[in-house]
C-alpha cells in the first residue's frame, strides 16, 4: 500500500466521521446497536483459511482476506467460482466449516444474518428487498418504522422519516425531488443506492454488495460505483462482489480473485493494473482462445473489439 493511498484514506476517514456526526444530529437514534466504526484502515473482518463444504462438495477452501474500514474489497470470479458461498459466509447465512472468521479481533461463528447484522455486517442482495409500489421513505424504514405517541395513538413519525430519508440519500449523493414517489419509479441504479443508504443508516459498518451492477446499463453502473465510493468515504468497509473487472478496478482497494472455490490472488490496487486484472480474471489462455473464437464468428462486435484492445495492451 502506497503512502499516497494512506493519505487519501485519512482524508476520506475524516469525511466519514463528519457524516456520522450529522447522522446523530438529524436522527437522534440510529436504530442499530452495532459496535462503532473503527479508524479507517483498521480491519473489521478478517478471514483466515476459511473454507466451506456441503457434504462431500468443497465449495470454498483456504480463503484469506480482510475487510478494512474505509476500503473496498472486491471479490471477482466467474459463475460458480465460489462468490455466493463467500457472501453467504460473510453475511452469516451459512457457517464456515474451516478456518477462522474474525470480527473486530474476536473469532466468531455466525449463525444467522441477524447475528451478522448485530455486528454491523449488512448484505444488500440482488433483489434489494424493496416494495415497488410503496413510496421511497416507506421502503427506507420498512420493518424499522419510527413512531411517536403511545398506546392506541402510537403512529408513524412521517415527517422525521421523510426528512431522514431525504438527508441520508443526499449524503449518498442521490438528490430526490420527492421521497413520496413509489420506489418503482426510480431507476435500477437509484434503487440499489436506496438499499445501500438504508443499510448504512441502520448501522452497517461492513456493506456486502452482491453483484450490484449485474443488471444495470453502463451509465447506471457508473452511478452505483459512485455510491460505493461514497460509502467507502463515509468510513465503511465494503465488500463488492462482481464478475466485471472494469467495475471493480475504479473503486476497489483490494482485489481477490476466485476460481473453482479457491483464491487465485489477493492484491492491493498498487500491485496491479486493470489489464492485469482482466487478464487474471479470465485466465490468460482462455481469454486468448475466446478472442480468436469471437474474431472468427462475429468480427465486428463491440465485445470482440474490446477484447482485441485488451490483448494489444498485454
Amino acid at each position: 500500500m502506497t503512502t499516497n493511498e494512506n493519505v487519501s484514506h485519512q482524508a476520506s476517514g475524516t469525511e466519514g466521521s463528519d457524516t456520522e456526526g450529522s447522522d446523530t444530529v438529524v436522527t437522534g437514534t440510529p436504530a442499530a446497536s452495532a459496535p462503532p466504526l473503527p479508524e479507517p484502515g483498521v480491519a473489521i473482518i478478517e478471514v483466515k483459511d476459511v473454507g466451506k463444504s456441503y457434504g462431500s462438495v468443497i465449495a470454498l477452501r483456504e480463503i484469506t482476506t480482510s475487510v478494512k474500514a474505509g476500503e473496498v474489497t472486491c471479490v471477482l470470479g466467474d459463475n460458480g467460482a465460489g462468490k455466493s458461498t463467500l457472501i453467504n459466509i460473510l453475511a452469516g447465512a451459512h457457517e464456515h466449516s474451516e478456518g477462522e472468521f474474525i470480527v473486530d479481533g474476536v473469532v466468531r461463528h455466525m449463525s444467522s444474518p441477524r447475528a451478522a447484522l448485530a455486528l454491523g455486517i449488512a448484505t444488500v442482495f440482488q433483489d434489494l428487498a424493496v416494495v415497488p409500489l410503496m413510496p421511497v421513505w416507506r421502503n427506507f424504514f420498512l420493518g424499522s418504522e419510527l413512531t411517536k405517541g403511545f398506546g392506541p395513538f402510537k403512529r408513524l413519525d412521517i415527517n422525521s422519516m421523510k426528512q431522514i430519508t431525504k438527508s441520508e440519500l443526499a449524503q449518498m449523493g442521490i438528490d430526490l425531488r420527492d421521497v413520496d414517489q413509489p420506489i418503482g419509479t426510480l431507476s435500477g441504479g437509484e434503487r440499489q443506492c436506496v438499499a445501500i443508504a438504508r443499510a448504512v443508516y441502520f448501522g452497517a459498518r461492513v456493506l456486502i454488495l452482491d453483484e450490484p451492477t449485474a443488471a444495470l446499463g453502463v451509465r447506471q453502473s457508473g452511478v452505483v460505483l459512485k455510491y460505493i465510493a461514497k460509502a467507502r468515504d463515509r468510513g465503511l468497509g465494503v465488500v463488492f462482489i462482481t464478475h466485471n473487472p472494469h467495475h471493480a478496478f475504479p473503486v476497489g482497494d483490494r482485489f481477490m480473485l476466485l476460481r473453482r472455490g479457491r483464491s487465485i490472488g489477493n492484491f492491493a490496487k498498487s500491485e496491479m493494473t486493470l489489464d492485469e486484472l482482466v487478464q487474471m480474471m479470465a485466465g490468460g489462455a482462455e481469454l486468448d482462445a475466446l478472442t480468436s473464437e469471437l474474431e472468427r464468428s462475429m468480427p465486428d462486435s463491440a465485445v470482440t473489439k474490446e477484447l482485441q484492445k485488451g490483448m494489444k495492451h498485454q
Partner: protein, 360 residues
Amino acid sequence: MTTGTTQEPRPPQEARGSDERLSGSHRLASVLRRPEVGAAIAALAIFVFFATTTKAFLSPGGASTWLFTASSFGIMAVAVALLMIGGEFDLSAGAMIGTTGLTTGIMMSEFAMNVWVSILLALVIAVAIGALNGILVMRTGLPSFIVTLGSFFVLQGVNLAVTKILIGKVSVTGLQRAEGYTQGQQLFGSFVKIDLGGTLPLTIYAVTFWWVAVTLVATWVLLRTRAGNWIFAVGGAQISSRQVGVPVLKTKVGLFVTTSVAGWLVGMLSLFKTTTVQSTSGVGQEFIFIICAVVGGCLLTGGYGSAVGAALGALIYGMVQQGIVYEGWDNDWLYAFLGVMLLGAVLVNNWVKARAEAVR
C-alpha cells in the same frame, strides 16, 4: 481511487421540508394519483344523475334507504379492501355475516342466553374462523381464493344444516325474549330520525355510524401506523417484506381475522335491526365486497388501494341499487351495471399501477 472522492457541497436546509422543485401543480397531481379519486368522481356523478332524474332519491325517506344499503356493504368493503391491499381474498366474508348472526340469534332465542354472552360467542367464532383461514393460507401456500372458497362452502352448508338441527327451521325469530335484548338493540339496531319536512323523516341507522367509524379507523391504520405499512408491504412484495423484518404471518392472519370480525359486526347490525336472521344471510355478497374494493382503487394483485375508496365503492353500490328502483327500471340492470363498473375500475387501476411503476 478515481471516483467520488470529491464531495459536492450540499446546503443542509435542502434536506428539510418540501423541495422547491415541487410546484403546486405537482401537489394537485399527487392528489389526483390517490387510489380513491376515481371512485369519488364516479360517486359524485351517480349522485347527481339520480338526484336530478328522480324525485325519491333525495327525499329523506329515499336517502335513508340507499344510505342504509351503502353502510352495511361499506363496512365489509373496507375490511375486504384492507385484506386485498395485503394481497389476499376472502370469499367467506359474506357467509360469515350469516354464521355470526345465526349463532347470536339461536343462542338468544332458543337457549335464552344473555345478549352479551351470545354476541361474544359469535365474535369468538368469527376470530377463530378468520385465524384458521389465515393460517391455512400461509402454511399451505395455497391461493387464498381457493382456501376461502372452501371455507365459504363449509360455512354456507353449516349455516343451513346446523340451524335446521338446532331449531328445525331456516330462520331465527323471537330475539326479544332474551335477557338484555334492548342493550344489544341500542348498540347495533338503533337509529336517529331527523325530520326534514318530507313525508318520511331521514332515518340514519346505527350501521351508518359504524360504517363511518370503521372507515376512519381503517384509514388511520393504513396510512399512519406500522401495521398499515406492513399491510402495503406484504401485499406488494411478500419476500422483500420478510427480508427487512416485517412479520408477514402476523400481518396476514391479522387481516383475515379483521375481515371475519367485520362480518361479525355486520351480522350483529343486521340481526338487531331486523330482529330476524335467515340461514342464507350474506351468501352471494362476497363478490360485491370485492367489487366495491376494486371500484375504490384496490389492485387485485395487492399492495395498493384505500379504505376511503372502498367506502365510496359501497356508496356507489347503495346509490345505484336504490336509484334503479326509483327510476322504475328493471332491478336486474344492477348486475349489468356492477359488471361494467368492475371492468372499468380494473382497467383504470391497472393503468394507474403501470404509471406508478414506470420510471419517471
